[in-house]
C-alpha cells in the first residue's frame, strides 16, 4: 500500500527573505545583501518596466535606478508597515510614473505622505513579511483568470481602465466591474488582517 502523498509536493521555491536583506543594507551597508537583492529584483523590475511600455534601454536604466533607490532608502523601510516586495513595488511604480509618464514635474510626490505614528507603532501589526506575502499570494490565487488579468494589466502593465477595455476588447463598464469584483474578493481575504 502506498503512503498518502504529503500535501506539499510542489518543489518549494527557495524563499528569499528580502526584508532581512533590506535591513542588512540599511544597518551595515551590506554589499553582499545588496547583490542578492539586485540579482533577484532588478530582472523582475526590468520586466515590469518593459511591460509598462519602456524600451529595453529605459527598462534597464529604470531597473538599475530602482535598486539604487533600494540602497539609498533602505533606512526608511519599516517591516511593520510594508512588505519588502510591496516596498520595492512602490519604488518601481514611482520611478515608472516619473520616468515614463512625464506629465508633471514629480507626479509620484503625491505618494510621499507623512505616516502618522499610529499607523506604524502597533506591535501586533508587525507580522513577518514572509507570512504577509503568503497571504497576499493566496488572495490573488483566489481570483478568476479574467479578474487576475485586469488586475495585472493595471498594476504591472501600466494600463488605465480605457486601455484595458481596448486591449481585451470589452466595454469599459465591464473592466470597471471586473476590477471592482477582483478587489472586493481580495479585500475579503486581506482586510481585517493587520
Amino acid at each position: 500500500m502506498q503512503l498518502v502523498m504529503p500535501v506539499e509536493m510542489k518543489p518549494d521555491r527557495p524563499k528569499l527573505d528580502a526584508a532581512s536583506l533590506i535591513v542588512a543594507v540599511a544597518e551595515h551597508k551590506d554589499h553582499e545583501a545588496f547583490k542578492v537583492l539586485f540579482e533577484h529584483f532588478a530582472p523582475r523590475v526590468k520586466t515590469f518596466m518593459v511591460r509598462s511600455g519602456a524600451t529595453t534601454s529605459q527598462a534597464e536604466e529604470l531597473a538599475q535606478e530602482t535598486l539604487l533607490m533600494v540602497w539609498r532608502k533602505a533606512g526608511l523601510f519599516n517591516a511593520a508597515r510594508a512588505g519588502a516586495t510591496a516596498w520595492i513595488f512602490t519604488i518601481a511604480r514611482n520611478l515608472r510614473i516619473d520616468g515614463l509618464r512625464r506629465v508633471g514635474r514629480e507626479t509620484s510626490a503625491i505618494f510621499n505622505m507623512d505616516e502618522p505614528a499610529e499607523d506604524v507603532e502597533q506591535p501586533d501589526q508587525a507580522y513577518i513579511s514572509v507570512e504577509r506575502d503568503e497571504r497576499v499570494r493566496s488572495a490573488i490565487a483566489m481570483l478568476s483568470e479574467e479578474q487576475r488579468r485586469v488586475v495585472q494589466l493595471s498594476f504591472v502593465e501600466d494600463k488605465a481602465h480605457p486601455e484595458i477595455a481596448r486591449e481585451l476588447n470589452i466595454p469599459l463598464g465591464t473592466v470597471k466591474s471586473r476590477i471592482r469584483l477582483a478587489i472586493k474578493r481580495m479585500r475579503d481575504v486581506l482586510d481585517g488582517q493587520p
Binding site: R44, K46, T47, F48, L68, G83, G104, V136
Partner: protein
C-alpha cells in the same frame, strides 16, 4: 472626524497601481492623509502590487549592470532632484499636506455664495483641479456632469442624493450624475475637486448662469 464616504475600491486600486492622473491623485492623497482605514487598505493593495512584481519572469540585465550599479552606491546623489518646497500652512489650516506643493490661484466669485480657487496641478486634456467654497445653506444649481468628479471635503459639509458629505469624506462620482448639492448649515464648506468632462446646468437658474460658470 467621522469619515463615512471613501474612494471606491477601483479608485484606490488605480491609485495604488500608479494609474491615476496627478489631478485625481492629489485628491485621493488628500483623503488618505485624513483616513487611516484607507491608508491601511492602500498598503494591502501595494502588497498585491509587490506580489505581482515578484511573480514576473525575470528579464536578464545588461552585462555588467550589477557592477555599474555597485559603483554608483557610494557616488553622489546626482539623481535626487529636490522636491518643490512645501509651503507652510499659512492661514489655511484646512489645506491638506499634498496640496501644499501647488500654487493656488485667488478666490474667484462664480455664483451667489460660491467661490472657486484654481490649484495648479499639471494635468492632461481637460482635467482640472480646484478648491470650491460655498456659504452655509447654499443650494448649488441642479447640474449633470459627464466625466469624473472626485471631491474631498476639507471643511463643512454638503448633502445630495448620495448622503451627507462632511470633512474628511470623499465623493467619487463617475459618468452621468445629476444632482443638486446643498451646503449644510452652520459652517462654510470647502472642497477639493478634480474634474474631467463637462458640467451642464439643468435647472432654470442653472441654465441662466451656465455661461458664467466655467468649473
Amino acid at each position: 472626524m467621522t469619515i463615512t464616504h471613501h474612494p471606491s475600491d477601483a479608485t484606490l486600486a488605480a491609485f495604488a497601481a500608479g494609474q491615476l492622473d496627478e489631478g485625481s491623485g492629489v485628491v485621493v492623497a488628500s483623503h488618505l492623509t485624513a483616513c487611516s482605514s484607507c491608508r491601511r487598505w492602500l498598503r494591502k493593495l501595494e502588497d498585491v502590487g509587490g506580489a505581482l512584481l515578484a511573480d514576473l519572469p525575470p528579464t536578464p540585465m545588461a552585462p555588467g549592470a550589477l557592477a555599474r550599479t555597485m559603483e554608483r552606491l557610494s557616488g553622489p546623489l546626482e539623481q535626487d532632484k529636490p522636491l518643490p518646497a512645501a509651503r507652510p500652512a499659512e492661514h489655511l489650516p484646512w489645506l491638506p499636506e499634498p496640496l501644499r506643493r501647488y500654487e493656488l490661484g485667488p478666490w474667484r466669485w462664480i455664483g451667489p455664495g460660491v467661490y472657486q480657487r484654481k490649484v495648479s496641478v499639471p494635468t492632461k486634456g481637460d482635467a482640472r483641479v480646484f478648491l470650491l467654497k460655498a456659504a452655509p445653506g447654499t443650494k448649488l444649481p441642479e447640474h449633470t456632469h459627464t466625466g469624473i468628479e472626485r471631491t474631498q471635503v476639507l471643511a463643512g459639509a454638503f448633502i445630495h442624493d448620495g448622503g451627507r458629505f462632511g470633512a474628511g469624506d470623499f465623493d467619487d462620482a463617475e459618468g452621468e450624475v445629476e444632482h443638486r448639492p446643498t451646503v449644510d448649515m452652520g459652517e462654510e464648506c470647502i472642497c477639493l475637486v478634480a474634474m474631467t468632462g463637462g458640467i451642464k446646468m439643468t435647472g432654470p437658474i442653472g441654465r441662466l448662469i451656465q455661461p458664467f460658470v466655467r468649473l
